[in-house]
Symmetry: C2
Subunit: 187 residues, 2 copies
């Protein structure tokens, strides 16, 4: 044993996560990461391998940040009401981080949708599939809905979540609330 790390990996990743959230992957340079994380490039590379590695850890950190919200949603049992609550909670996370726009996962989904990156794209696909399955699970709690309707509505909600992410970038809180209200008029 010898000298100990003068930083906590979880802490510097949290800072990196916010930087990626603000600027996206491609528009965040190692130089910016170095400054924001407050540690040298050498330390970054020895801890996380490469830029891609920092990003993957940042997404983990984001997922961890939103874990409580997701768990609440998963354990809920009131059907559509809970999906709506989940939409509102998603917006709230954006509003409690003023400089960060939209949802990091959706932003990443958009940025990488035009690029070939197997690992990231796989993660994004899995995320969206899980979200859809959660919606399906909640919608099935309503005995009045037939399976075909449930599938259509789940798909609609996943895409509506994209619209919501776009909304949190530019629209006012009032407009976002209206959007959610209208989205669920349908369901």
């Amino acid at each position: 044993m010898a000298r100990k790390k003068q930083y906590i990996e979880e802490e510097v990743i949290d800072k990196a996560m916010h930087l990626f959230w603000r600027n996206g992957y491609e528009n965040t340079s190692m130089q910016m990461l170095e400054k924001e994380m407050g540690i040298n490039k050498f330390s970054i590379y020895s801890s996380f391998g490469n830029k891609h590695g920092i990003f993957l850890e940042s997404i983990k950190s984001y997922k961890n940040k939103t874990k409580t919200m997701f768990d609440t949603f998963k354990n809920a049992s009131n059907g559509v009401t809970d999906i709506k609550q989940f939409f509102n909670d998603s917006v709230a996370i954006g509003f409690q981080n003023n400089n960060e726009k939209g949802c990091l996962v959706t932003n990443t989904y958009n940025e990488f949708s035009l690029i070939e990156d197997e690992l990231i794209n796989k993660q994004m696909t899995v995320f969206m599939d899980n979200l859809k399955n959660l919606f399906i699970e909640k919608l099935r709690l309503d005995p009045k809905k037939d399976e075909d309707t449930i599938q259509k509505q789940a798909n609609f909600l996943v895409l509506a979540k994209h619209g919501l992410a776009a909304a949190t970038k530019v629209n006012s809180q009032k407009e976002i609330e209206d959007y959610i209200e209208m989205t669920f008029n349908n369901i």
Copy 2:
């Protein structure tokens, strides 16, 4: 007078536009543009100034490509039906260009939403505002709608258009049709 240009600017811009559409702005390099446009960097720079200039011309070219669709929409007078038709037409454009994903304007909107680029962002804002105003105009044709409802619905539709653009990237034609159907259940 001396030697003439061996290329037609509109033609090479059309090629550049498709390349930007496929890859986005940042992930399209001058090297790629040189190859795709089939002319030398010098020629590109003398015609369009810089990469930014090529992109702006490409967006013009895209707008021109979709002009007919927009004009049809503008001149229509059946209200909501026409908005729905416009949504369907937007999807069709994506499907007639197999390698190009989503809508170039929406893609650009997403990519630049995290970057400070006054000119592009101004253009995107104007585009979205015009779209919203068109929706408002069509919605007003229905005498049963009050002004508050019209504003909410127009805003909803602009955001739904984002969801639609996301859908055209990954969803099947059937799923997209269902999404449009559900979107307009509301209106």
